[in-house]
């Protein structure tokens, strides 16, 4: 079964990089440029297994998106992984307290993403560690 990911970042370049990395692991991906656009994708019924979420974005930032997803019980199974350059300890704590499962600090490597996915049990079996 295909694993689905929604890549949320206001940078097109970063969306391409993260999507490319996940597709290399066998994911089917979609992209959103900010939190509200991502919520629209979820509302239309495309509910992913994983959301990768930038913090600083226009319209709706990553933390607001996490709060919105966690407020809807129907989206509880969605795994939320922050992928952001916000690396202050306080910000990491805030994101995890709001309901994010994992936190990856930019810059990251494909290996770092793979390791996090393995920890979350979201690495397709055919991808070896």
């Amino acid at each position: 079964m295909t694993v689905r990911a929604l890549v949320i970042d206001d940078s097109r370049a970063m969306r391409r990089i993260v999507s490319g990395t996940l597709e290399g692991f066998g994911y089917e991906t979609r992209q959103a440029g900010h939190g509200q656009e991502a919520l629209d994708v979820l509302h239309e019924g495309w509910v992913p297994d994983l959301c990768t979420i930038d913090w600083n974005m226009p319209v709706m930032d990553g933390l607001q998106f996490v709060n919105a997803v966690r407020a809807n019980p129907a989206w509880r199974p969605v795994t939320l992984m922050m992928v952001t350059s916000e690396s202050e300890h306080g910000q990491i704590v805030r994101a995890l307290a709001a309901g994010a499962h994992e936190y990856v600090i930019k810059p990251f490597t494909a290996d770092a993403i793979r390791d996090k996915l393995a920890l979350l049990g979201l690495l397709p079996q055919e991808v070896s560690l």
Partner: protein
């Protein structure tokens, strides 16, 4: 009536915030930039710490940081270098024809990643702004900045961490 200045509720004219160079040094900025390059631009993309003059036509990207230290992290390079950086950053995902929008986006993301990690070593808590791109970066206090000059594929680029609090020199009451 209490003396506000003695109660610590006023900042004395001489109580300037620490200089930027006291908070972050060139080596740290250089290391953060190198990490960003290796992860985003490419594993073999080495930055050589060698100052060289920037070309006449440059492009800058920057993010502002607002907090106990307020200022901006500014990345500047030549326009051709910015285009090459975009192609390198996008790699196999690069479109056939790279547009200015792609260049602005890629350069902005590099400033965002470098700025976010610089913010982490500065006193906090602070807020990171969204990246901006243009030919005229925000003016800062040249005297209160940390500047790193490197070569990437032989082309010069600079990263500047600059305070923008010139008006604070005259600030007394909070």
């Amino acid at each position: 009536m209490s003396d506000l200045s003695d109660a610590g509720l006023r900042r004395r004219a001489g109580d300037l915030p620490p200089a930027t160079a006291e908070l972050v040094d060139e080596a740290t900025v250089c290391e953060i930039t190198e990490q960003a390059w290796l992860a985003l631009v490419g594993e073999d993309e080495v930055l050589v710490p060698l100052p060289a003059p920037l070309p006449a036509e440059t492009l800058s990207s920057w993010v502002e940081i607002v907090g106990p230290w307020t200022g901006a992290v500014v990345l500047t390079c030549g326009r051709d270098t910015a285009l090459d950086l975009t192609r390198a950053l996008l790699g196999e995902h690069a479109p056939q024809e790279v547009e200015q929008e792609d260049v602005d986006d890629a350069l902005g993301e590099l400033a965002n990643v470098v700025g976010g990690n610089v913010k982490a070593v500065l006193p906090g808590p602070s807020v990171l702004g969204l990246p901006e791109v243009g030919t005229t970066p925000p003016s800062g206090r040249e005297a209160d900045s940390v500047r790193v000059a490197v070569l990437w594929r032989g082309s010069p680029l600079t990263v500047r961490v600059q305070s923008v609090l010139a008006e604070r020199e005259n600030e007394v009451p909070l």
